[in-house]
């Protein structure tokens, strides 16, 4: 169990590192998506019980996986997909205006 939490931490840090160090917009979006996926994995792991069945009660099961984190994971996935779509659209617009995806070359974003 504890190794899965370690995987979550590594994935999250990897995504954050990608987001902070890369200057390519597409790579930044990929980094944000990796962070998002690690959070979904965390939600799934939180509800896991050893030898538990899926939360579909068609018989009398004794051990059932916690259904609440799964419902919340669905929310997280939907919001993540929406944000990705919006980010991609803005990337397309930036690429059309500046002809580059490198944020260090886009002058007005330098601040």
């Amino acid at each position: 169990m504890e190794s899965i939490y370690l995987v979550v931490i590594i994935l999250f840090c990897l995504g954050l590192y990608t987001t902070l160090t890369n200057t390519n917009l597409i790579k930044i979006i990929i980094g944000i998506n990796i962070m998002d996926s690690s959070l979904v994995l965390l939600l799934v792991v939180l509800g896991y019980k050893p030898e538990g069945t899926a939360p579909i009660i068609d018989q009398q099961y004794s051990i059932i996986v916690d259904p609440i984190p799964q419902a919340l994971a669905l929310t997280a996935i939907v919001i993540g997909a929406s944000i990705t779509a919006l980010m991609l659209l803005l990337t397309i617009k930036l690429h059309r205006n500046y002809n580059t995806l490198d944020i260090s070359e886009i002058r007005r974003l330098k601040g």
Partner: protein, 235 residues
């Protein structure tokens, strides 16, 4: 140099997260999964909602209002993308695939529709539901567009129909929720009203949950199709 600073910062964050999670292991509630709310849902979920799929029961009954907000997020994203994307007409995929691709895609699309409507209709009985089924519906549009190119789909007409469908899904979700108020209970009330819940495990059961599933499926499917449509048009 900047990368090294960031690396040190992120290593610190990772160590903090690890300490936080190790504290979680000490929590006996988490180790045994003995949360009262989860236990309540597992024990009373089928009786309260009539749906044997507890995830759907939570999504569309206990947290139905939450799901309405979730659907609103997709609606807002579709609106924002439609607003921001210009109306220029650009043909993205002018590549010609081999005959095998065309034949296979034409063959597979009816089955994809069957899968999507199975996922939506049996959302309260088996894994799936409105969101998953909606994504499969959107996949059919995307496949058609990628293989046959934009020219084969009459664009403006299709977009109008899709946005109509999306609004229809949202409105039917809200109207189904208002039914609970009309009957004298809360918004999106299901189990506590005098509605017929049916026998748990049958196709027609669980009160308003299948209707909400259908509304969400239509909404998500058409919404994602519109998003894809707008994104490929913008080049």
């Amino acid at each position: 140099m900047r990368k090294i600073y960031i690396l040190i910062l992120i290593l610190g964050l990772g160590i903090l997260l690890f300490i936080n999670f190790s504290d979680l292991f000490e929590d006996s509630n988490l180790a045994n999964n003995k949360y009262q709310l989860s236990q309540h849902y597992i024990e009373n979920g089928v009786k309260d909602t009539g749906a044997i799929n507890l995830v759907t029961a939570i999504l569309f009954d206990y947290r139905g209002f939450d799901t309405l907000g979730e659907a609103t997020v997709i609606f807002i994203v579709v609106s924002a993308i439609s607003l921001l994307a210009t109306k220029e007409r650009v043909f993205v995929s002018d590549t010609n695939f081999s005959q095998i691709v065309y034949q296979n895609i034409s063959f597979i699309i009816p089955f994809l529709y069957i899968l999507a409507f199975y996922l939506i209709a049996y959302g309260h009985l088996s894994p799936g539901g409105g969101f998953a089924g909606g994504v499969v519906i959107a996949t059919t549009f995307i496949l058609l567009k990628i293989t046959f190119g934009i020219r084969y789909v009459k664009e403006e007409e299709a977009l109008g129909k899709k946005s109509l469908l999306e609004s229809l899904g949202a409105i039917s979700f809200v109207l189904t929720g208002l039914l609970g108020i009309l009957l004298g209970y809360n918004f999106l009330a299901n189990g506590q009203t005098s509605l017929y819940l049916g026998i748990a495990g049958q196709l027609v059961s669980a009160g308003i949950i299948p209707i909400l599933n259908l509304a969400t499926g239509i909404k998500v499917g058409s919404g994602l199709a519109i998003i894809f449509h707008r994104l490929v048009r913008e080049e």
